[in-house]
Symmetry: C2
Subunit: 197 residues, 2 copies
Amino acid sequence: MSTAKTFGDSRRPYHHGDLRRAILTAALDVIAADGPSGLSLRDLARRAGVSHAAPAHHFKDRTGLLTVIAAEGFGLLAGAIGEAADLKDAGVRYVRFAREHPAHFQVMFAPELLREGDLELATARALATDALRHAVSAVPPEGRGADARLAGVAAWSLAHGFATLLLGHNLDGAVGERDPEEVFRVLASMLFRVAAD
Amino acid sequence: MSTAKTFGDSRRPYHHGDLRRAILTAALDVIAADGPSGLSLRDLARRAGVSHAAPAHHFKDRTGLLTVIAAEGFGLLAGAIGEAADLKDAGVRYVRFAREHPAHFQVMFAPELLREGDLELATARALATDALRHAVSAVPPEGRGADARLAGVAAWSLAHGFATLLLGHNLDGAVGERDPEEVFRVLASMLFRVAAD
DNA sequence: TTCCATAACTTGACACTGACAAGATTGCAC
DNA sequence: GTGCAATCTTGTCAGTGTCAAGTTATGGAA
């Protein structure tokens, strides 16, 4: 009933309660700070106050943990892009997602760290690409040149490159004090002049 | 005189001869195949047929090895972009560089794996950014909107995003059988209509 | 309420890794 | 030739991922 499962002593309960989420959030912190290479399951276990083998029960592997994070990321991204008004807005939301969820973003595009066959990952990724495809289809044909598919590739490349360079601090000088989203709006306008501002 | 320094026996010589380069190329192979996370100094030592601590003498660290690779990459990239005729060509060369040197490319933009204070890295990176800046300045003002700096950011973002997504096999479906460089040319044309083909 | 199947977690072990220290071997300048 | 510095080896340590086997709690059926 009370918070302490065991008698009123100082020992922590045998069951953590929400270890899975605790490890996930700790992992996101570590990745955002030091990248996926700085991640250690044993370190996450220590942060959560559990034994070194506890994480394996929830995620099987280091790869399993990262795969869950990637799938979660694609789900979040799909939700964000799904609400976009037009393609430029989708790009802005893509950049916003990368800035708000840098750990997810990094892991999502590090295929060598993921269990590529994972079902949840595949479905979440499909959701995100569908959302992108839908945003592309909303652009009037005269605004996107001959090939609609290439317009999508262009938009994705621009947003992805901008987000990646931003997270890697490669644009600190160029962006300066300006809001990165506003800067990206300018770039997007260069790409699709029809759907301007 | 002969290739075998020691008597005609089967034992390898104490000195490798070109261990530094041997380890570098082995590292590039591993990274291209499995990413930087798949890199192990001991594995590289085994491939080169030397003891496990030999690599440390040439690169100090795992970080040191990766920093050398990144610096080499920026040097190669600067050389490639420096020969570009215009900004679109610079973008094409950027994409070509990423495809021809995927290991370099990955490491160059993984700052958490690098010794950021390293001098050779800083100078090589400065060379590359200068080459990019120069390519941007060659675009006529009416072709690049108000801010020249933003035109550079747009071009860099587009090329970087396209290259990154390409290496991650995120564009396999969209590019199909076409030559990626030709596809990128189309994307670049969308960005800068003035400097069209 | 009792009981038990199962989920959640621990303990222990093994092979592997990066890093450091100290010693052995070799080439090269003088 | 001789000495010195660069190159490479051997040995060791702490840290990591992963597996196997045991311990503890939980939830539902009887």
